[in-house]
Symmetry: C2
């Protein structure tokens, strides 16, 4: 009923009004000069955000669609691939690679664990792999893996490295070229502050040279790459979303990528400090990489789903519950993209009220202050 709505999930994330306004612009034709200008600038900004000189391929699809492009282009039936998983999304990629006939060596951690480069090394010594598939930010658990170290382990065995950076790109450092990442996959609807509908894939020359025999057309890298070089999209792109993404990337680059990374680190610290101050137990690791989503254990005797439901019904605040085996056990506060410390204060204040009303024995009145303090006193630079 006209109440303010708050979107505090780890994707889709809140979209700034300037970006929403771009969505409402009249539609332009995808082969017109009007669109080519936007398209060219948007692709250049994506390369900047991915920190790569190589191609960033843009697909009208969700992040899963862009990820499937990596599988469809790199996997041939019967080939060995090492998939590292520690949560819902890692497991999805194992299923996807299996659907394309990969011989998947699944290095599978319990949900919430952090993948270890030495485990990758050991697996590759044992069985080898054409590519190692890793998740940077496992949205289901809040864990952000050390992609630089995992990539280094893969490189030692001459494997390609494919990174799911869907919920991390633009929020935590992802140095595509400097870390030797062959494929970085992301989507519009997380730190890139745009509605869902665009998926992207930064692709190295080595990856482009290693494509296989799986059937593909819409997600074919070479077709998309050639079309982008001439700014002539292979298929009608979601022009409104591309225009919106272009505006959002402009905002992100105006803030500066390093400043955005620092802000996310500090937001993560603030969220964790507030949760701990009121006596809740973190599920996410309490470390600086965990800057994307804060996962919190539901207090004993309280189903996390009831917290999610109460926040929605009482305040139109949307947060996320646990997925899969964590359903009912954790709830997740997203702070990816267009967030500042007062959003953290709002989510903590509301959680505090609702959790308390559900009967948990927590400390009232300290979380917001703890969060603001943690944010203020934790400048990274």
């Amino acid at each position: 009923m006209g109440r303010k709505k708050y979107l505090f999930t780890p994707g889709p994330t809140p979209v700034p009004p300037q970006v929403l306004a771009a969505l409402a612009e009249p539609v332009v034709h995808h082969r017109s000069p009007d669109f080519r200008t936007i398209y060219e600038r948007c692709l250049a900004r994506l390369r900047e955000v991915c920190r790569t000189e190589q191609d960033v391929l843009l697909f009208t699809a969700s992040g899963t669609g862009a990820f499937e492009s990596a599988v469809a282009n790199l996997v041939s039936p019967g080939e060995p691939h090492l998939v590292v998983s520690a949560g819902n999304f890692g497991e999805r990629w194992a299923s996807l690679a299996t659907a394309y006939g990969a011989e998947v060596d699944h290095l599978r951690y319990a949900w919430g664990e952090t993948p270890e480069p030495d485990d990758v090394r050991a697996r590759l010594r044992e069985r080898g792999a054409k590519a190692v598939w890793v998740v940077q930010s496992e949205t289901s658990t809040g864990v952000v893996a050390d992609v630089q170290a995992l990539a280094a382990a893969a490189k030692e065995a001459d494997a390609l490295v494919v990174v799911d950076a869907v919920s991390s790109l633009g929020a935590v450092p992802c140095e595509t070229d400097a870390w030797g990442l062959d494929v970085v996959v992301s989507g519009s609807q997380k730190a890139l502050m745009t509605p869902p509908g665009l998926g992207l894939c930064a692709v190295s020359a080595a990856a482009l040279g290693a494509t296989g025999s799986s059937p593909r057309f819409y997600f074919d890298w070479e077709r998309t790459r050639k079309a982008q070089v001439s700014l002539d999209a292979a298929f009608t792109p979601a022009v409104s979303l591309v225009a919106a993404l272009d505006v959002a990337l402009g905002l992100l680059l105006e803030e500066g990528l390093d400043a955005a990374f620092e802000r996310h680190v500090r937001l993560g610290r603030a969220a964790r400090a507030g949760a701990k101050a009121m006596g809740l137990e973190l599920f996410s690791p309490d470390e600086d990489r965990s800057a994307v989503v804060t996962a919190i254990r539901s207090p004993d005797g309280i189903d996390a789903g009831d917290i999610v439901k109460a926040l929605r019904e009482r305040f139109d605040i949307t947060i996320a519950g646990g997925q899969g085996e964590l359903r009912g056990k954790i709830f997740r506060l997203g702070h990816i993209g267009w967030f500042d410390v007062f959003d953290i204060a709002t989510m903590l204040a509301a959680v505090e009220l609702v959790v308390s009303e559900l009967g948990a024995d927590i400390e009232r009145g300290v979380a917001v202050t703890a969060a603001l303090e943690a944010y203020e006193h934790s400048r990274v630079a």
Copy 2:
């Protein structure tokens, strides 16, 4: 700078302001009750527009992506499939089916010809096919095929029927259930008056029961169908585009499908009457089915590309040139979706001026009146 822009291409098409306004609404989470309400209504409206009781699967993708879902789900390597083509899009579908390993029997007409049901019958008698793939409105030529008759020919041979209705759904009749169409593919950016980014696929029980062995995940019908039944999208959909499509479908159904079909027939008559009145030669057949795009031959000695360019540079009017082998030879006026007769008047007036200035010997001052007369005096009912 600030001039009015006119989008007169056969897709993307102009989007009504009510639909643009929906795009600019704050983003909602795809698993929230807010979105489920929109999603459910949008899917129901799509069934109504497709005139089917069966599932209409919605993908975040272009029309080509939705079409690929049909190929990926129905084609197994080595299977016989009959692809009917008479232009750019038909040929694209032949390439797509070939990419998935189909043994394609390609019934290939010259661009601009109209496919004949008897030719389909003859091919099926000779070689048989698991499915017959046809294009309803061949956007590259303006020809609208008689899908009902083509489908009947396929049914006699027990083949499945897959229809590319990307530029026709909502503009010309497409009776999915009554005509026994197994798969009807369309996109958001044509007669459905929404920006590009959503593809859809109406799928019969027979088609769902005939899926094959090609690898697929994002475009897998069963995964999408199951998710839609519980209103729980398989992957993060383009929520803003779904909300916009819902509004646009509401407008279309408010007008009434039959009224929209009649309007398109009359717009087609008006465009053809105007073009002929000024002395231009039609490339599209001069018949009522040709209600989607009017293709016109460029006058002798004038490159159609120069007409397209002059309209854009002088007036910010975007029309389409010829594709493939028709490049330079024809230009195309789209009148799909949010068009009325004064849009036809505008496009004819501008074409008349520009073609005349390029040196063609045409009659000035008669086209608009001819178009308005043809529209007024051609009520179908």
